[in-house]
Amino acid sequence: MGTSVQVSPLSGVYNENPLSYLVSIDGFNFLLDCGWNDLFDPSLLEPLSRVASTIDAVLLTHPDTLHLGALPYAMKKLGLSAPVYATEPVHRLGLLTMYDQFLSRKQVSDFDLFTLDDIDSAFQNVIRLTYSQNYHLSGNGEGIVIAPHVAGHMLGGSIWKITKDGEEVVYAVDYNHRKERHLNGTVLQSFVRPAVLITDAYNALYTNQTQSHHRDTEFLDTISKHLEVGGNVLLPVDTAGRVLELLLILEQHWSQRAFSFPIYFLTYVSSSTIDYVKSFLEWMSDSISKSFETSRDNAFLLRHVTLLINKTDLDNAPPGPKVVLASMASLEAGFARDIFVEWANDPRNLVLFTETGQFGTLARMLQSAPPPKFVKVTMSKRVPLAGEELIAYEEEQNRLKREEALRASLVKEEETKASLGPDENSSEPMIIDTKTTHDVVGSHGPAYKDILIDGFVPPSSSVAPMFPFYDNTADWDEYGEVINPDDYVIKDEDMDRGAMHAGGDVDGRLDEATASLMLDTRPSKVISNELIVTVSCSLVKMDYEGRSDGRSIKSTIAHVSPLKLVLVHATAEATEHLKQHCLNSICPHVYAPKIEETVDVTSDLCAYKVQLSEKLMSNVIFKKLGDSEVAWVDSQVGKTESEKRCLQPMASAAAPHKPVLVGDLKMQDFKQFLASKGVQVEFAGGGALRCGEYVTLRKVGPTGQKGGASGPQQILIEGPLCEDYYKVRDYLYSQFYLL
């Protein structure tokens, strides 16, 4: 009867590997996140490669590598072709994150897993949704509704609710219940009793999260301490995720304290990032949007932070202590790695980690206790080719080009043959139309880039070996060549489009330096050398991960109390811990599947739909209880005209039913209620409430967890026969509805 739901993890269970889960709902396959890590190891994606082509939709949660890093690769190489759904910030910032990853990688290696074009095309067709937008899928997903909701971890970060036939599957990973400077807390608590909750146990064992203002003070003290003694501070950060919160903290603190130490934010895409973030105010915390509405102060108009997009600018910056936020947080690539190597041996300097490094990366190594004294790093950089190498390269390229050209000319020949057909709209080459030129820029844009990046490999479709020659097969009549007046109308629409294209790349705005890197056609190669870096700078780790800690995770899950729970993304230890906890006190169905193990979490719920007849409803008197209204119904099943099941009033008097008391008694609240009614009331030992002199009230049976598996409440009231007894009993009854 229920909707069939199967979950099978593709990566990121029983460890901290990137997230990627396959959830199939009535045969419709969702890929929840498509993550990779900073090491870009294709073997991690093997499970994905086996199912990629069967996937019907991809839902992304956060704009970082762990949640969407594999998307370009999967689209290009693994045959993933499903539509992707994400929020606008996840789409934009995710795109920038991937650019940054690619450019950082390209700088130090012959990175060929995917190209900028692959990134572009992967992100081009992302369907962008806003928070709580109910999107109805069509096609074979008919009847399924998906909606992203606030996750609170990163800008645009989402938890996804998938609904079919009233049954809800919630995917919530890396959420944060706490409100931050730039983000609201998650709304996960507002989902109650979903059929399935898929969540992470990442922080299940992590409990001593400090209060945010203590943490901020400590954070800023640590930084200023090092700056004041003349040291530099490096914060390895992600490209466009958690770094935003850090920027705001620093910005705010700098304006309060009027510090003069410069702050630099250095990634390949930093200025684009901040530009976009400035226009994402709708997605940020209430306080940020409020301040903009009342005073038009955009919180991300950073006055104290300089945005840099290449290392030279930083090297040219005036000497002296400074704070640098640079990507990647893992120190595996990017500017952060270079800066770390430069700064590591000065004891005045500080490397401040704001999140736990990915497993097996340099950052993780440095975060171990005690920190290593020396680390061995392989430093690579891209250098232009010279001398013999250059000649050899050029020859190779020429040869490739010749081959390509030959192939292209063959293709062209066939095309021309085909185009000589009589029905061909033959005036094509003659069209005086701005459109054609623009279209060249538009449609061949990526291809054009391709040439520039990969060397001189011309795409087969665009370049002919000779100057293109077209036979003019125009139509003639007695007045000469037939003129189509439309060809001569200057189409404003096209002018608009022209302006649009003049504005730059449609999808990704690239910084000049990025562009120059892309356009850097000089043949180059990567040279690597191994260094032993002495780590004498201070290493500090603070928690700015923006995830709920273990205690909150537990209370959130208890509040949500799903009918079935699937745990993912955490170390084996944490997964096991949370599983046991949930089994004991939240719900009896907790699953923690292994990679490629499919668990069936189809709800075994029985349900059927009935129509409530007007006659029945007019006799029902609801009683309001919180958000809902309750009533007892006695009814008889009938049929409507459309042969649907319909509930009608009983023909004969209904058999009396056992009365039910509905309500949730909280002893604490009830105590106050009694006190307000003038009853002497106090808690006696063992959770008993002593009302007046003689009467006691206590909850019996399984206590502890609220609602959930514990079942109905058992309340015991006892006392001698006296007036107080009946008074207290009446007050107690007033807390419930009798049905």
Binding site: Q133, L605, Y608, E629, V633
Partner: protein, 693 residues
């Protein structure tokens, strides 16, 4: 349970079909343009769309007819966009009425709303009594306004709503409201044509049951955007090249930004014009630029891509003017000034200076409200009245080139044909235009399945929706799917407009509610022999089981399987039972009995005899009570010839058979009521059944 109390309550809430009536009442903008405000109510939920003022009136007269409604009953107020005729009575409504619902608008609308109204308060020169609200009220209203993003679904009290891009101004939205499955689309002002910075209005994914749509443009057709732009730039170009001045009276926000984009681009393409200054005289527009620069997500791709290069809202050829004192009127110039209606202010000052020179031109760029000077001069009168009361010849050329982003007839009819709403309500249009539109739409939807209405202000449109109430039976109750005739009993939980039926034991599983059992234990002083109690109880209750307590070995009794009576000590006995009305009653009578044992010996036997004797009398008594109750319910009740009771209410007659409970009547409603009433009376006068199956 106390069934008589229910039947009394029933009388307070008479059975009615009110729940299915949907009412739409325009409180403003009904057969007029200005003070948009539409009231809608369905199944006890009330929504108000927009809250504007009429720009041609001032003070209270400019408000929509709020006194027609009770503001405290409104659940949700939705504002489509920031224009004064859609949003400007909001501070008044929020701060000066009993309204206590929630207000929603989009982010951009909220940001501009504050600037715009603050400016409005400053500019409008009315006496203090006539002031509807002040700046303080605006600031206070800001805290109450909540924001909604496009497509985001929000639910308030079971009312679901979300909004679509409307394409009228930045942040303009069309609201779709869903109450219990009935959908209402309120377009506000919308345009289906993409322009320089805005996206065209979206076509909603779902067809609404009712579409409340603007009809500003009536049956007019707009020229294509490019022709309009060309006419606009041509007029300006020729005027300034002949040494004339161009006045563009335009509302500071909305279309003004579009015109500035056109002008800036035109100037950029025509270097010969570079020495001719363009001014926009609006500090307000200047302030709002930050908003335009931020909410680019609400604009179209063209702007977003330009934004990548440089901010298109930073104009290169246009400068801002703060007041007329800063303006040096030497030689040709182009000035865009507010207000758009030329009622007063900067645009009017310039108009008064320029109107008699025939070289000058005035371009009216959008829809003008009836009663404003701008509307008057479109008809090119010979003379106009200046602000100082004198008259002057109107020599300047007046051009009306509409850039108003209101849907024209073609857009409206295609939009409606795509949506095919069964009910169309026209608002926000001048009466004649609206009539013509209505006629023409009738020809478009000739099949008669579409109702088109154009209510006047305060004239309610009533529609009936027979929405089915569907419930989901879940959990243990649904283990077996019932057949026709089977009975289903359980707890019905209503949340918003969704219903679930479940067994009491499942309540905590499927809802946030929980059930409870209350166990009561009471001790009564009793020093007699326990056997006495056993004996006495046995005389009164049908079922008394004796046993001994396992722990103490003392005797115990179980009365009707509900109440356990135990001897606690020499001097006390205890009663324990699980609360419910019947058990409470049984225990109360046990308590009374136990207390009385020690005082006197009740004469039970005598009473029993009396009871037996009066068996027949009892029957008569019951009949009397039934009769009395029926009279109190229905008034006219007579004993018919065949022993049946004849009940007549409002001319309808029902015959009730007292023995079987059968009712005969031609009137279905009465028959049902009499049947139910008799059933309940019977259950009230008969002994309480102590057994629960």
């Amino acid at each position: 349970m106390a069934s008589s109390s229910i039947s009394l309550k029933r009388r307070e809430q008479p059975m009615s079909r009110e729940g299915d009536q949907l009412i739409v009442t325009p409180l403003g903008a009904g057969n007029e343009v200005g003070r948009s405000c539409a009231y809608m109510s369905f199944r006890g939920k009330t929504v108000l769309f927009d809250c504007g003022i009429h720009p041609a009136y001032s003070g209270m007269a400019a408000l929509p007819y709020f006194d027609e409604i009770d503001p405290s009953t409104i659940d949700v107020l939705l504002i489509t966009h920031f224009h004064l005729d859609h949003a400007a009575s909001l501070p008044y409504f929020l701060e000066k009425t009993t309204f206590k619902g929630r207000v929603f608008m989009t982010h951009a609308t909220k940001a501009i709303y504050k600037l715009l109204l603050t400016d409005y308060v400053k500019v409008s020169k009315v006496s203090v009594e006539d002031m509807l609200f002040d700046e303080h009220d605006i600031n206070k209203s800001m805290d109450k306004i909540e924001v909604i993003d496009f497509h985001q679904t929000v639910e308030v009290n079971g009312i679901k709503f979300w909004c679509y891009t409307a394409g009228h101004v930045l942040g303009a939205a069309m609201f779709m409201v869903d109450i219990a499955g009935v959908r209402i689309l309120y377009t506000g002002d919308y345009s289906r044509e993409e322009d320089r910075h805005l996206r065209a209005a979206e076509l909603p994914q779902f067809s609404p049951d009712i579409c409340i749509i603007e009809s500003t443009s009536g049956v007019q057709l707009h020229q294509s955007r490019h022709i309009r732009e060309k006419r606009f730039t041509d007029v300006i170009h020729s005027t300034v090249s002949q040494g004339g001045r161009v006045l563009i009276p335009a509302f500071a926000l909305g279309r003004a930004q579009e015109l500035l984009l056109i002008l800036d681009e035109y100037w950029a393409n025509h270097p010969d014009l570079h020495n001719i200054p363009i001014y926009y005289a609006s500090p307000l527009a200047k302030k709002c630029m930050a908003v335009y620069q931020t909410y680019i997500l609400s604009m179209n791709d063209r702007i977003r891509n330009q934004f990548a290069n440089s901010n298109p809202f930073v104009f290169k050829h246009i400068s801002a003017l703060n007041s007329i004192d800063d303006f040096r009127d030497v030689g040709p110039s182009v000035v865009m000034a507010s207000p758009g209606g030329l009622q007063s202010g900067f645009s009017r000052q310039l108009f008064d200076i320029w109107c008699s020179d025939k070289r000058n031109a005035c371009i009216i760029p959008g829809y003008m409200v009836e009663g404003t000077l701008a509307k008057t001069i479109i008809n090119e009168p010979k003379e106009v009245t200046l602000m100082n009361g004198l008259t002057a010849p109107l020599n300047m050329q007046v051009h009306y080139i509409s850039f108003s982003a209101h849907a024209d007839y073609a857009q409206t009819s295609t939009f409606l044909k795509e949506l095919m709403p069964p009910n169309i309500i026209l608002v926000h249009g001048e009466a004649n235009e609206m009539m013509r539109l209505k006629q023409k739409l009738f020809t478009e939807f000739p099949d008669g399945n579409t109702r088109i209405m154009n209510p006047k202000n305060c004239e309610s449109v009533e529609m009936y929706f027979n929405s089915e109430k569907m419930a989901k039976t879940i959990g243990r109750l649904a283990e077996k799917t019932p057949d026709v005739g089977d009975s289903v009993s359980g707890i019905l939980v209503k949340k918003g407009f969704t219903y679930q039926i479940m067994a009491p034991d499942d309540l905590h599983v499927f809802s946030q509610l929980s059930t409870a059992t209350v166990t009561q234990r009471i001790t009564i002083p009793f020093s007699g022999a326990f056997g006495v109690i056993t004996h006495r109880l046995g005389k009164i209750f049908e079922s008394v089981e004796s046993s001994t307590d396992d722990e103490t070995g003392l005797p115990a009794l179980k009365v009707h399987e509900r109440v356990t009576v135990k001897q606690e000590s020499e001097k006390h006995i205890s009663l324990q039972w699980s609360s419910d009305p019947i058990s409470d009653m049984v225990s109360d009578s046990i308590v009374a009995l136990v207390l009385n044992i020690s005082r006197e010996v009740p004469k039970i036997i005598v009473e029993e005899e009396v009871a037996v004797k009066s068996e027949e009398e009892n029957g008569k008594k019951v009949e009397k009570v039934i009769y009395a109750l029926l009279v109190s319910l229905f008034g006219d009740v007579k004993l018919g010839e065949d022993g049946k009771l004849v009940i007549s209410v409002d001319g309808n007659v029902a015959h009730l058979d007292k023995e079987s409970g059968d009712v005969e009547s031609e009137h279905e409603g009465l028959k049902e009521r009499v049947r139910v009433a008799f059933k309940r009376i019977q259950s009230a006068v008969k002994p309480v059944p102590l057994w629960v199956e």
